[in-house]
Amino acid sequence: MSLRRWSVTLLAAFVALLTTAPLLWMVSVSFMAPGEAAQFPPPLLPADPTMANYHTLFGSFGIGRFLANSLLVSTLATILALIFTIPAGYAFAKLRFRGRDATFRLLVAALVVPGQIGMLPLFLELKAMGLVNSYAGALVPWLAGIFGIFLVRQYCLSIPDEMLEAARIDGASEGQILRRIVLPILTPIIVTLALFVFLGSWNDFMWPLIVLADQNLYTLPVALAAMSREHVQDNELMMAGAVVTTLPVLILFLALQRFYLSGLLTGSVKG
């Protein structure tokens, strides 16, 4: 290996270490005894690793319930988002209907409006519909994200019309074309989109905080915030909470990385 390649490898390893260091230290601290991380200089590894913080979290704090809540909300958000977004993106790309382009331009223009601006009207709307303090209310903003529709549409544009026409000649209905021809081709972008929505809804703090008043319905980020108010000094417990919050999505992300990357690279490599 040449000197140049060695230098690049070392530099990449250093940057990777720098990036992952806070995450690794988070995991390390979660196994420390109360107060151990507050010492100076802060220790890198626990002197006497303990599961006490996790016992507290899952025992007296009952984080298992919030974990399940988050899992439920994120999974439902992902499924619903895919159900609404994929047909919409496909229709905007491949079906001819009156006002198609104008509607799509309007949607894309709406992307520039910050999500926070819509929160109050959305809250009032949901309140009128009686959906506040329910998972249905927490799920509404994820149903049909414009970004998702845009992503699916752009990918669908690369599917040759002739392929869909061949399926029509073969006798497939529009639904069958979407299910049997388009969906398998869309796999990379579906995984990418699912990951975006799952991560987004898993990490979302503001909307669940607004819409969910009942503590039993809290998702992990909201529950963690509530816990931090009581245990602000308890770094080790907080870090264990952070591990429980970040680890599932990190594992999911790494597991689906292959699809995720090919989805993101679509525009640059597809002929």
């Binding site: 002739e162 392929m163 061949a166 000649i169 073969d170």
Partner: protein, 361 residues
């Protein structure tokens, strides 16, 4: 199997009229090629027959059925696209079986149909591969196989050889011809390549700007083109066209100099009538002969067995092309005489329509 009838087909895209009242009859079992330059409406016409494009007006019948308002799958057609349009996530077998699966055919029926089509096209070893693992020619065969499996009344081909390299195109042309002989299915084939049209067709339809210019057998179109467009569209190198006026003695005085005797015409032309004289490159004879005209060789394209010799008239004007066997004797810059044999000349009027010749005895 069935014939195809198109009556007064018109198609507008916004303000643009792409098909301007096209009427075609394709006999049962006939191989008909629609040929024309890009944008002439040939693919639109084919897509209208397939049901992928709705006509603005006109009717389409397949056999005894009016299919104008039927969806593509109910028209009894199968189409092979220029880009093959195979489903990339399915194997060759699944690609070919797709239509029958949608139609809920039994597994035995599907297997039989796929095996039969695969045998005809010699693609049995490819059945479990995906399209990405196939060459261009193999993909084309699979696309044809998918069409055969449907057992259509009419095959529609939309420039199916355009994406193949020159060698493969020649081989596939041969295979298309054999396949048609074997299956005998009525075929409508669209291409912009006049060689494909000449070699494959029982009958050629020449289309320009949404209008049929001429319909006939390849030989008839080549020997008796209805106008300058058809004359120049069929044949490579294309027919030479020379501007002329009819002289007092009934010969044609070429604008670029020289005089040529005309073939016997159905009706004599008045002296001074402007005409266009056409001659195919292979009909020009280089060498001394009575009535030969002086030329200078400006360029020789050597193609191996044949050479295309570009000849410039002594008095100037555009060079004309002459094709002959290449014996290596002709050089650029050489002065030669060449004869335009009267019986090989085509005559066109001022707006490019063929002037009828006297009926041959």
């Amino acid at each position: 199997m069935a014939g195809l009838s198109i009556r007064d087909a018109r198609k507008n895209f916004g303000e643009t009229e792409v098909l301007k009242g096209v009427s075609i009859d394709v006999a049962d079992g006939e191989f008909t090629v629609i040929v024309g330059p890009s944008g002439c409406g040939k693919s639109t016409l084919l897509r209208a027959v397939a049901g992928l494009e709705e006509l603005t007006s006109g009717r389409i019948s397949i056999g005894d059925r009016d299919v104008t308002d039927l969806p593509p799958s109910e028209r009894g057609i199968a189409m092979v696209f220029q880009s093959y349009a195979l489903y990339p996530h399915l194997t060759v077998r699944e690609n070919m079986a797709f239509g029958l699966k949608i139609a809920k055919a039994s597994k035995t029926e599907i297997d039989d149909a796929v095996r039969r089509a695969a045998a005809i096209l010699h693609i049995e070893p490819l059945l479990d591969r995906k399209p990405a693992a196939l060459s261009g020619g193999q993909r084309q065969r699979v696309a044809i196989g998918r069409a055969i499996v449907r057992q259509p009344q009419i095959f529609l081909f939309d420039e199916p050889l355009s994406n193949l390299d020159a060698d493969l195109r020649v081989r596939m042309r041969y295979e298309f011809a054999s396949l048609h002989r074997q299956l005998g299915t009525t075929t409508l084939y669209v291409t912009h390549d006049q060689v494909e049209a000449m070699t494959l067709a029982d009958r050629i339809i020449v289309l320009r700007d949404g209008i049929i210019e001429q319909v006939g057998s390849p030989r008839a179109l080549y020997e008796s083109p209805a106008n300058i467009f058809v004359a120049q569209f069929l044949g490579t190198p294309r027919m030479n066209i020379l501007a002329a006026v009819v002289a007092d003695d009934g010969s044609a005085q070429l604008i670029d100099g020289g005089c040529v005797a005309l073939p016997p015409l159905a009706a004599p032309l008045a002296p001074g009538t402007p005409v266009s004289v056409g001659i195919r490159p292979e009909d020009i004879e280089i060498g001394a002969a009575a009535g030969a005209l002086p030329f200078t060789i400006t360029f020789v394209e050597r193609l191996g067995g044949l050479a295309t010799v570009h000849l410039q008239a002594a008095d100037g004007g555009d060079p004309i092309a002459c094709q002959r066997r290449d014996d290596g004797s002709l050089r650029e810059g050489e002065k030669v005489v060449a004869l335009l044999p009267p019986d090989q000349l085509h005559l066109f009027d001022a707006i490019g329509r063929a002037i009828p010749r006297e009926a041959r005895k």
